[in-house]
Symmetry: C2
Amino acid sequence: MSSTSSEEIAKSAKAAFEASQLISSAERIKALHVIRSELEALKAEILAANHVDLEAAQVEVDAGRMSDSLLKRLDLAKGDKWDSMLQGILDVAELPDPTGTVTYATELDDGLELYRVSCPIGVLLVIFEARPEVVVNIATLAIKSGNAAILKGGKESNRTTLLLSKAISSGLSKTSLPDTYVQTIQTRAEVSSLLQLDQYIDLVIPRGSNSLVKNIQNNTRIPVMGHADGLCSVYLDETADAEKATRVVVDSKIDYPSACNSTENLIVHESLLKTVWPIVAKALLAANVRLLCDPPTLEALESLSPAPENLQSHVQHSDETSYSTEHLSLTLSIISLPSIQSAIKFINSHSSHHTDCIVTESDAAASVFCRGVDSAGTFVNASTRFADGFRYGFGTEVGISTGKIHARGPVGLEGLVIYKYMMRSKDSRGHVVGDFGTGKKQYKHSVIQAKTVPF
Amino acid sequence: MSSTSSEEIAKSAKAAFEASQLISSAERIKALHVIRSELEALKAEILAANHVDLEAAQVEVDAGRMSDSLLKRLDLAKGDKWDSMLQGILDVAELPDPTGTVTYATELDDGLELYRVSCPIGVLLVIFEARPEVVVNIATLAIKSGNAAILKGGKESNRTTLLLSKAISSGLSKTSLPDTYVQTIQTRAEVSSLLQLDQYIDLVIPRGSNSLVKNIQNNTRIPVMGHADGLCSVYLDETADAEKATRVVVDSKIDYPSACNSTENLIVHESLLKTVWPIVAKALLAANVRLLCDPPTLEALESLSPAPENLQSHVQHSDETSYSTEHLSLTLSIISLPSIQSAIKFINSHSSHHTDCIVTESDAAASVFCRGVDSAGTFVNASTRFADGFRYGFGTEVGISTGKIHARGPVGLEGLVIYKYMMRSKDSRGHVVGDFGTGKKQYKHSVIQAKTVPF
């Protein structure tokens, strides 16, 4: 598709966003329910299209061009996936409205009121891979938060996402929201064109591989919310308890190795080399984890008698690249360091500022670690795998951000809103700045108690 | 200076930021007081350097290469500028600490606590023009909010800013904060190099001309907070009161025409062409404002008898470019439109999303305008000139943002902070994700009442 039509898509998304600002948020809730019904009505047709996508993907898998795990993620009929996709719409519909909330209100002068009120950001461009239900998840989050959205799924699920998108548009057309409020695009060329249109698109949310995210960050002026790397660490402090250390490290590594919040680097305080480290290492080796060790941690294992299970097959020397590699598998890089200060420096220069954990019995060390480590999540005696919007209690998750502005860590609906300032003069002559100053009126700045804007 | 040394500057700023995270915020307050004393001690030397800067600038002015207003902004000895610069340090020191505040806290399980706590962003790169006292203002804001900063002033004030910077470093060296916490650079080449170093610099804040800001936005991947254009509008609704309209429009235009929050476009509902518009126009003409009119508003003025003052000299035809021009002078572009809906569309496509105002007696119209206009400020019967951090009650202002994420409108200290999530397990075995799920433990998500992190 040409860049002209990408411009039309972006322009109509912005127009839909602007028009939607004058439609009550109750209509957005209604839209979610109608879309759910449309999806239910189109269920057979959608699952048939999904079956065709799956058959095409199976050919790719058989030819060795696609992974089996990618194929599995395509399947919309598997288990309770369809039902939980529809239930997700109702769950989001019932969350508190993230828009229209006053977060600051002050009377500048008698009859001159200022309100800071949460509002949607504008037009979101969301790019993701493989899993077709993400179209519905993201459309739901966008509609709930009052943002227009342009969605691009993986090409493997094009037939499925086309029909999901049809159901969404058809649902929107039965409400007063514009049916271009949520649009779906199919090609990478369209994405490239859209990334240039910062006059229409306000935020890009990539959800996919490291290379997808980096490529987008390098090719747009539009703000990008997300994370390229998930390089998390666990640090075993000198006071670490052996059982806590073992449980936390093993869970952080093996619970879901390909997730962004699984741990890739383990830092061992050098006082633990002959005490806690061998216990943790044995548990990791028993769990089939491959260990890339620096000389002291390697030596500590080699000197054990009897030799631990899997020592020969699973333990190797690390090199400098080991500590900046996101393994995404049952591999863990290990380094020993002499102090908590050196561990914090190591994490700040090697981790991706996602989530890092200390195992310690010392409150002072916990406090230093949580303040000194510059990451979205700093944990004490808890698995890095807890870094997740659902687990944090947000009900849903837009994604996880390793950026330093706007939203950081797991992002809930509040990451899709910003605020505007509304000001009203109730004075019979209006309010002008020229009436204030030395020898004239002074600003009052008296707090107004308000949760919503009264006009 | 070479890009190697720019990298060293950025790297040492990041190291200073990271080290500062383990220093209590009380030390930052102390630093502000010490810096104030250092400046006071260096006063004679600084003002002498400023005098040399001024003499060099006078040569440029005489040669027609610099404006007189720029020269005036350089002068640090003028009026109470020096004293208010020093008082500003004390004012900021006394503001509430924007860091360390818990904004979300929940117990995920017995003994597993999650805290979202405000914290500094990291390293700020602040680029501004002419006024040397901005070095002190921005250093103060950065230190108060716990961010490291790299500052670049205008070349016209290099001698002054070098000494201001010396006083700041000297002050920092008398505290436990690193003396590279605030650094000053002098050349554009260094700025260009620094804009590429997104691994060290977290936020760029340009404060200066439209072209400075646009140039920076186009040349960095680092998030930029600020505004290029300040194209504000006033819309006179069909129910507009003539006196309010006149006062608000005149103040919005003439109070400080070169400010970003002064009004550039006036939209007149077509029902007002023979009623309110002539009254407003006469007041503008009497105030020496040049009017660029569309045919209906021009015709309305030409048909008046007697002809208004300045009609021949000050009223001209507008063209399409008039409405996207930031005049920054006593010039106003005027258009008549048939409805509030068309006015909102016009503003959304022509204004810079900074601040826009409606003059109306209708609550319904006020509500529609404030929601429909997608700008940082939407005002009712109040001058656009009120869009300002001091007037909003923030005590100080980092700048005004027309971006759609992180911070919008006048930005106070809270625009220089983000948050991190701290999690602590108090369980004797630590907490792991593998213990939760179907048939296992469930997440509690019970609210914790806390204003600060208890560890």
